[in-house]
């Protein structure tokens, strides 16, 4: 019954419809904002409704084992490309995160973006379509299409509404990601052809291709191409250099989406496509992934400690946090993988919130330099309170969300690779060092520059309160989310659902 409603298609293309509707509202910012708000909150409601009814959907036992909803139709028969969308627990978590992050992005740019509002919101909506597509596509060609499509709006978002060296940053971002993607495209086509040669079936379907037996050498090359694309998005050291620039120069909404979602597409891709398609090659490269992830965690923490720009500091902290996600994936073991997936959502919420808060401060003080602030606790207590919460969450304070993810990752990894887990643990201590420095310098200490700062207004309080509640809820009671991803994780790691 529910499969007939094409809910997944609606989920993907509803924002695009909103983007097209933006054309008549071009000239009127207020109308454009209301339209975007309507579409994005509609999308969020749909995602939440799917979440509320996921157990019912699972009981219906749709076509693919472990999936809640599947849509499948021929698309480009000449190439064997199909329009296949599928929703399982993992996708659903990412879909919720996407819908939620876009609402946050809209809320934080409500006043901050005053120029070309229609274009800005149209791009946001177009990007939402692209990201939803990435998280739902089960056909490799379709996945690649969405993977590329989501870049274009981000390119404009940073380039038009960014700060500082925005053009340099946005072009760098675009070229880095394109580089990885294009090689992945070749690998996708090669895999498709190898499968066609063996079985005579031309298909890009994930589940057909998973079954393709590949010689070890070929598998390694193909996995390397996929891994490169995902590692750039992740970003893993040393492919991370686009991230600090892009984050620093992006408008606040752009940073929220970059940190919250675009980085997740890399880890999601590795979980959904990279490891299942090339299990032996992934095993072979696992030590490399551990090394890069740990090097990234330590390097990013050290660099973050030296940053003067708050946004840049949080950008580097992102690299560190995503390192834990990479470690959990590399362990490829149920507990660690669950930890990674939970950590993806956690990082989206926490880092998104931190970027949003820095954006709010920047709007007031027109600077993000750590040295300019100090003693904000006394001046803007509400802002300081929320900042403290999110910083503590970012550090991994027990009871807040990041702790759950990091704990699971480390606990799971410890059984497979004790050394990697041990080194990653050291990384947590380093995170503590730079975050404490940030909080201490900005929130406490004495005022260094007399900046006229107003505390949060009602809209900002609402946004941050929702985020803070989520941080606490995911930290105290992660069981529902873990249950949601339990089935997919079991399936991915080779168990039965």
């Amino acid at each position: 019954m529910m499969a007939d409603l094409h809910l997944l298609t609606v989920l993907v293309f509803f924002p695009l419809a909103g983007c097209l509707l933006m054309l008549p509202a071009w000239k009127c910012p207020a109308a454009a904002r209301s339209l975007a708000l309507g579409v994005m909150s509609g999308e969020l409601l749909l995602a939440l409704w799917l979440y509320a009814s996921w157990q019912g959907l699972a009981a219906l036992k749709p076509a693919l084992p472990g999936y809640l909803l599947v849509e499948d139709a021929p698309w480009i028969s000449a190439f064997g490309i199909r329009y296949t969308l599928g929703l399982d627990g993992l996708s659903l978590l990412m879909v919720m995160l996407t819908a939620f992050s876009f609402c946050i992005a809209l809320a934080v740019s409500w006043r901050a973006v005053g120029e070309k509002v229609g274009l800005f919101l149209a791009l946001l909506l177009a990007m939402e379509t692209g990201i939803m597509g990435v998280f739902l596509a089960l056909d490799l060609a379709l996945f690649y299409l969405f993977w590329e499509v989501m870049l274009i709006p981000m390119f404009f978002l940073i380039g038009i509404w960014g700060h500082g060296r925005r053009i340099y940053s946005t072009v760098k971002f675009f070229l880095f990601t394109m580089f990885g993607s294009l090689l992945m495209l070749l690998a996708i086509i090669a895999l498709h052809l190898l499968h066609a040669r063996q079985s005579g079936v031309t298909t890009f379907g994930l589940f057909e291709l998973i079954a393709t037996p590949l010689p070890a050498g070929t598998q390694l090359w193909l996995f390397a191409a996929f891994f490169l694309a995902f590692a750039i998005k992740f970003p893993l050291f040393p492919l991370h250099t686009w991230l600090p620039d892009a984050h620093t120069d992006a408008p606040t909404a752009g940073s929220v989406i970059l940190a919250g979602l675009l980085l997740k597409t890399g880890s999601y891709g590795l979980i959904r496509f990279g490891y299942p398609l090339f299990p032996q090659a992934a095993q072979t490269l696992t030590p490399l992934i551990y090394t890069l992830a740990i090097a990234g965690i330590i390097y990013a923490s050290l660099v973050a400690f030296a940053q003067e720009d708050m946004k840049r500091l949080i950008a580097y902290s992102s690299i560190g946090h995503m390192g834990y996600v990479a470690i959990g994936i590399a362990a490829w073991e149920p507990v660690a993988l669950s930890g990674s997936i939970i950590q993806m959502a956690n990082h989206g919420v926490t880092t998104g919130a931190l970027f949003a808060m820095v954006g709010m401060l920047d709007e007031r003080a027109h600077t993000r330099e750590i040295g300019a602030f100090g003693g904000l606790w006394g001046k803007i207590p509400l802002w300081s309170f929320f900042f403290l919460i999110f910083s503590m969450a970012s550090v991994g304070l027990p009871g807040l969300n990041n702790f759950v993810g990091e704990f699971l990752v480390l606990a799971g990894t410890f059984t497979k690779a004790p050394l990697a887990a041990g080194l990653a643990f050291v990384g947590i201590v380093l995170t503590l060092v730079y975050m404490v420095r940030l909080v201490q310098e900005v929130v406490f200490q004495v005022e260094r520059r007399p900046l006229p700062l107003a505390d949060l207004d009602r809209r900002e309080i609402c946004v941050l309160a929702v985020l803070a509640l989520l941080v606490v809820w995911m930290g105290v009671h992660p069981a529902p989310l873990l249950e949601l991803i339990h089935g997919p994780v079991r399936l991915l790691t080779g168990g039965v659902p």
Binding site: I76, A141, V149, M178
Partner: protein, 465 residues
């Protein structure tokens, strides 16, 4: 000639006759209505080609599904170029009946080239439309650049015509026939004279396709010619030349040397075209080098001919033509009034002239091969054909040069939307209906082909059988 032959040939007759008609009408009463007349002629040729699906073979010409597909494609390109030229020529003071008449003649020549069934007709068709372009490139009489471009094109073009003619003569010497179908029947070993002839023909066509190293005329001619002429030259003439290459390639099927020559041409074209485009500061030159580079990917499809490269080549050239028409059309509008040519001068034009700016951006994304534009599907088709043919190295080069291309296409997009406008300029004028149509058609084709390429791909699969 039977009645059925006449019916099948009617589109060519309409175009050639229409060309004469426009010339005569212009002599009696000059005026802007001649463009309307020419548009009517092209539309009726188009309608006839679509409505009367005749397959007829006669001496010299074979109206096959292949020829009819190219006729529709080239006539549509011609239609868009005419719509574009209507307003542009009036503003630039290019008056007279020569322009529409020559353009119709060029379309007739292209149609004949694609329908050729022997080498002589192929030569006639190719040279007929090249001849028309000699005139069109230099049609702006007061423009120094236009004159220079015309001369360069003429010199290069006659050289290539000479090479082509020599090649045909050698083939005839060796086999005693000009029929393509007979020439494609391979004897056990290919005679050297025949191979030399085929290679010369290929060189002649490489000029027309501006494959490196026969590409040197391209940037100067594209920059000097009026924008609507460049639009047609860079798309339809390339399309007709691709058809000609596809007609010639069966002659050297199974000869490893032919594969190697195309391999080198493709490699050199992709690398040189994309690298040279990186350093351009003029938008027309950038687009010219980009069109050189794009032909490298078409050559890659030729290399992969046994693995379905023919379909990929045609799909690619159609996608490229749509983007090319859109980009040159947008440039013709954005540059009008002034001789705006430097990329720097395109700052902020995306906001001043939203439609033309957006069209240019979509076209550039398509040329860069970024979805959901048609260029992505085209690159997808070419790369999968190349990998299927086992050309892994060349496909890798193609992908890496495509990345270089992304950079220079983005430069224009950055200028259009992200650089601050210096000084307040007068608001852009409203586009006329024909200009808006000339921009909308190729853009729509670009988007539709990118999102739903199935119908075209299936059609091409049937044509290439």
């Amino acid at each position: 000639m039977t009645k059925a032959d006449m019916m099948a040939l009617m589109p060519l007759i309409i175009l050639a006759g229409g060309s004469v008609l426009v010339l005569l009408a212009g002599a009696v009463r000059p005026g802007g209505y001649l463009y309307g007349l020419a548009i009517t002629v092209v539309v009726s040729a188009l309608a006839w080609t679509i409505a009367v699906p005749a397959t007829v073979v006669m001496p010299g010409l074979a109206i096959t599904p292949f020829a009819r597909f190219f006729a529709v494609f080239l006539d549509s390109a011609g239609l868009v170029a005419l719509l574009m030229a209507t307003g542009y020529n009036k503003r630039r003071g290019i008056v007279g009946e020569e322009y529409p008449a020559t353009l119709l003649f060029a379309l007739a020549g292209m149609g004949a080239a694609c329908a050729a069934s022997d080498l002589l007709m192929l030569f006639l068709g190719l040279e007929a439309f090249t001849f028309a372009f000699y005139l069109l490139v230099a049609i702006e009489r007061d423009s120094v650049r236009g004159g220079e471009a015309g001369l360069k094109y003429l010199l290069n073009g006659t050289l290539s015509a000479a090479v082509l003619a020599m090649g045909i003569a050698l083939v005839y010497c060796s086999r005693g026939t000009l029929r393509l179908s007979e020439l494609a029947r391979q004897p056990a070993s290919l005679e050297p004279l025949f191979l030399a002839g085929v290679c010369l023909i290929l060189v002649g066509l490489a000029f027309k396709l501006s494959l490196v190293p026969a590409h040197l005329w391209t940037p100067d001619v594209y920059q000097g010619a009026p924008a609507p002429v460049t639009a047609l030259l860079s798309t339809a003439s390339k399309g007709a030349s691709v058809a000609a290459v596809l007609l010639i390639l069966p002659l050297m099927a199974g000869w490893r040397g032919g594969h190697d020559i195309l391999w080198c041409l493709s490699l050199a074209t992709m690398v040189c075209g994309n690298l040279a485009a990186l350093v351009q500061t003029s938008i027309k030159r950038l687009l010219a080098w980009s069109s050189v580079a794009q032909m490298g990917y078409v050559a890659l499809a030729f290399v992969a001919l046994p693995a379905g490269g023919g379909r990929a080549a045609i799909f690619y050239v159609v996608a490229y033509a749509a983007a090319g028409l859109a980009s040159f059309g947008a440039v013709s509008i954005l540059s009008d009034g002034s001789d705006r040519d430097a990329i720097e001068q395109y700052r902020g034009l995306g906001y001043r002239n939203p439609l033309a700016g957006a069209v240019l951006a979509v076209a550039l994304f398509s040329l860069a091969g970024i979805p959901p534009a048609a260029g992505f599907m085209a690159k997808f088709a070419v790369f999968s054909a190349a990998l299927r043919a086992g050309e892994i190295a060349l496909a890798m080069v193609g992908v890496l040069t495509a990345l270089v291309a992304v950079f220079f296409y983005l430069r224009v997009v950055v200028a259009l939307y992200m650089r601050p406008v210096d000084g307040a300029e007068a608001a852009a004028r409203r586009l006329t209906g024909s200009e808006a149509l000339a921009l909308a058609i190729p853009t729509l084709v670009t988007v539709v082909m990118g999102v739903y390429p199935s119908p075209l791909l299936d059609l091409l699969a049937r044509i290439m059988g």
